[in-house]
Symmetry: D2
Subunit: 291 residues, 4 copies
Amino acid sequence: MELGLIGLGKMGGNMRERIRRAGHTVIGYDRNPDLADVASLPELVTKLQGPRVVWVMVPAGAPTQQTIEELSELLSPGDIVVDGGNSRWTDDEKHAALLAEKGIGFVDCGVSGGVWGLQNGYALMYGGEAEHIARVQPIFDALKPEGEYGAVHAGKAGAGHFAKMVHNGIEYAMMQAYAEGWELLEAVDSVTDVREIFRSWKEGTVIRSWLLDLAVDALDKDEHLDKLRGYAADSGEGRWTVEAAIDHAVPLPAITASLFARFASRQDDSPQMKMIAALRNEFGGHAVESK
Amino acid sequence: MELGLIGLGKMGGNMRERIRRAGHTVIGYDRNPDLADVASLPELVTKLQGPRVVWVMVPAGAPTQQTIEELSELLSPGDIVVDGGNSRWTDDEKHAALLAEKGIGFVDCGVSGGVWGLQNGYALMYGGEAEHIARVQPIFDALKPEGEYGAVHAGKAGAGHFAKMVHNGIEYAMMQAYAEGWELLEAVDSVTDVREIFRSWKEGTVIRSWLLDLAVDALDKDEHLDKLRGYAADSGEGRWTVEAAIDHAVPLPAITASLFARFASRQDDSPQMKMIAALRNEFGGHAVESK
Amino acid sequence: MELGLIGLGKMGGNMRERIRRAGHTVIGYDRNPDLADVASLPELVTKLQGPRVVWVMVPAGAPTQQTIEELSELLSPGDIVVDGGNSRWTDDEKHAALLAEKGIGFVDCGVSGGVWGLQNGYALMYGGEAEHIARVQPIFDALKPEGEYGAVHAGKAGAGHFAKMVHNGIEYAMMQAYAEGWELLEAVDSVTDVREIFRSWKEGTVIRSWLLDLAVDALDKDEHLDKLRGYAADSGEGRWTVEAAIDHAVPLPAITASLFARFASRQDDSPQMKMIAALRNEFGGHAVESK
Amino acid sequence: MELGLIGLGKMGGNMRERIRRAGHTVIGYDRNPDLADVASLPELVTKLQGPRVVWVMVPAGAPTQQTIEELSELLSPGDIVVDGGNSRWTDDEKHAALLAEKGIGFVDCGVSGGVWGLQNGYALMYGGEAEHIARVQPIFDALKPEGEYGAVHAGKAGAGHFAKMVHNGIEYAMMQAYAEGWELLEAVDSVTDVREIFRSWKEGTVIRSWLLDLAVDALDKDEHLDKLRGYAADSGEGRWTVEAAIDHAVPLPAITASLFARFASRQDDSPQMKMIAALRNEFGGHAVESK
């Protein structure tokens, strides 16, 4: 089939490649003309035969918002927009409603796979009405990993991004689990080979996983991670997961602890621990470390 | 080679079977005569040709302590005792010293694998001196999974149990990660098929793992886990992990949150939340739920 | 001075009384005619001499929103609206802008004091422009506790509610601190008189506080809190505190733990712990508690 | 009455002074002869008329252990030893048993008050048998704050230190509560005067407390705590509180979060966050900060 694809960065570019390898036609647009197949959104729309499917793969927030608004002006009833970016699930309902007014369908799709996706396929979680999903299905089939897993119709519009967001929240806590265990093992004198312990866990253990494999890969490059700073960014989806949990009164202690550990890792000095130091000094005359 | 094996319960019995399949001779002792090959510890020791290797696979704490003390009286210099149970790593140093006085070697070995071990092999983490490890190596090779992973010499005496303990701590937080994500997905109306989301994650995602596979198996038996109570025991190793972290001033927020969630799951009513309710009532006249 | 007061419930009614005792004139409106001094908002506005100050004391969200919109139609340039309810600080900026279009000033005020406020005074945290604050100052002075503390100009519009929200977040964690300590003391056999321990802490300790006094009052009524369920509601401000922290990448582990403990206290059975139980069953054949 | 007091450091010296002011006779011993009234423990014991009461005020662990063992040799049946140091409650039972063999009584006493104790009195939590407590009561009465609070017979031997330990655990979480709130307020632009907000909370709020007063004192010396490093030691009692909770399967999320925040504050770089950074790099090609 024919697909319009907007956004040809690291993710989008690889996805175009994977879809083409599956035999589909992809017309790509990007603000960067070196990457693009067409010069503008209107040209993209013109070149696609109706009914069209246009996949938006641009940064979440304003860029996605603007692109969908533009498409709502350019597309025709019966066309479908897929938001494959990292949009917050609460935006999807608005976008679905905006497009529905023009008779345009909407599907949201959370995409996982990172730099490995081109080769191994992308895990896909999509939300929307079954008839819209069905229209995009050949593209989903091209992008997903081989085998029976890796793609799911998660529910109504927004459910795809919601499922992807929860995936990332789980990912935060799994990474934190390995990281805590690694630090503890490194802290103990009688344990002499932490890297080999991690490596041994790759088979026969309850905690074997792809993330564990990656941890071993990382330790093979730098056994004690001496070359890295203990500094971790967060991409928004961990925050949204906690906010969604708060909205639904779901306790999320491990995922939230993982998010807060990242926040703390980015502080040069901890303001709250200054207050702890100040209070200890006030009531106990405890020595404090001054700058 | 020849191995004495003490403790032939669910774990020990399967391990005897796997070691025998590898062509070794196992003489097993258990308090239950229906399971045992010999009638007593002294008979076990007599039947083994020296220098002996005796593997202790009995409950941690007093049973292991007593067994090792008895063996210290029965065995000869040059023999080796392996503690393959779930002993706390702090006990290992004491046991190693007790046996060393008699010239008997000591190896501690954390064993993972549960009901899957007989078929797939057991992950092994062992600690002790290299010469002692070398003597037990054929048994380790019989027990471990096929392939290049699944067994590691983690360090000095105690390091095997320490590594296994940390493995279990990581396991607690990974299970909690999936559990939190599952609860959040189940709480949201627009998400209509949580089980299929979990299933889709088996390929192409960052969070694919053996535990995830098990979660899908469990959901296939009981889609919303309606037949279960939200009640989780803990086996000691999670607690010890947190205590070890405290000893070494290592922050372990996600693993500890996972342990505390289990504690709370076993309370019919939460005493601390009674105090919260009482305080709210005192200062705000907030309605409280009385029994 | 003369004040219009909208909302004469438990809080508003007592505040009217305290302001009147200070010699000011209060014209109160409430949807419940038994409580109200006037029959309608337009009548309230008519009866007040300009330039008017109108204090809105109705539930946060839609009721406050509607009231402020109505007032924006009824009031005149130079009048001032005070939002003394529990509004989210993010609403304040919108309300300030809406009213500013009509030349009407806006002050937000977080009010603490509960059932004790009539007698002891209300702690006040207000935000807005200095000239607007100055106009309301006599009312703030009437409401605040005697002495030099209890009222603060916290910053721009929204800062009053923000400060009150953080106050409540701190309150959550302080309550949780006492509650955790109480549960631990009650769990230990050698400790025979937990209530008297709490009482003794009222003097000479680092942790003496008004909340501790309330805890002792509660224990005097019901020594082991046997009559209460471990069930705690949350009022919104704890949630907003965590959300604000997430927005600013501030780690808030103790306050968030306190919020999540409340969420968990309201679950009859914990979905996430069902998943933990299911996983333990899958990999270990651990007994699970079925319903 | 007459008291032997061992350990005349910052705490012990002030306590001697307060007891003397109450009209009692204190004979003090310290390893530092400049502080001591007698030259040795035997001389201390000789100078006291029987039946004796000897208060041990030396560091927890080995120093206290040794002192009590020495006293068990020097004292006579009917004498009483009070351990007023920061001993772990699990040591008290051993000490009580050791002394009981010689007919010597034992009382453990947790003491709070720090540098403020000489003037305001010390909060006391003691454990042991009623007849032993009664013998020490005049000294407790001299040390405690004036008024009806500040001293409690908490239970059996060990209960005094246990109660004091829980007091400190609560203190950790209360300090963390204020510290988190302070950091959040400082992070927000619209809030312009955090110190004055804290000051205003001293009256009329739910969170007024002595610790809050100290926070204001600290902010008056250094408004944004610019002169301090965010570095907080911990004294052992927070750790023991968490360990006791683990022993009794009591969830302690806020207190534990407070302890872990201190651990993290003392790390120049976080090993666990290096692992997070490494994993992010492996799966996503996320930029990491290298040293």
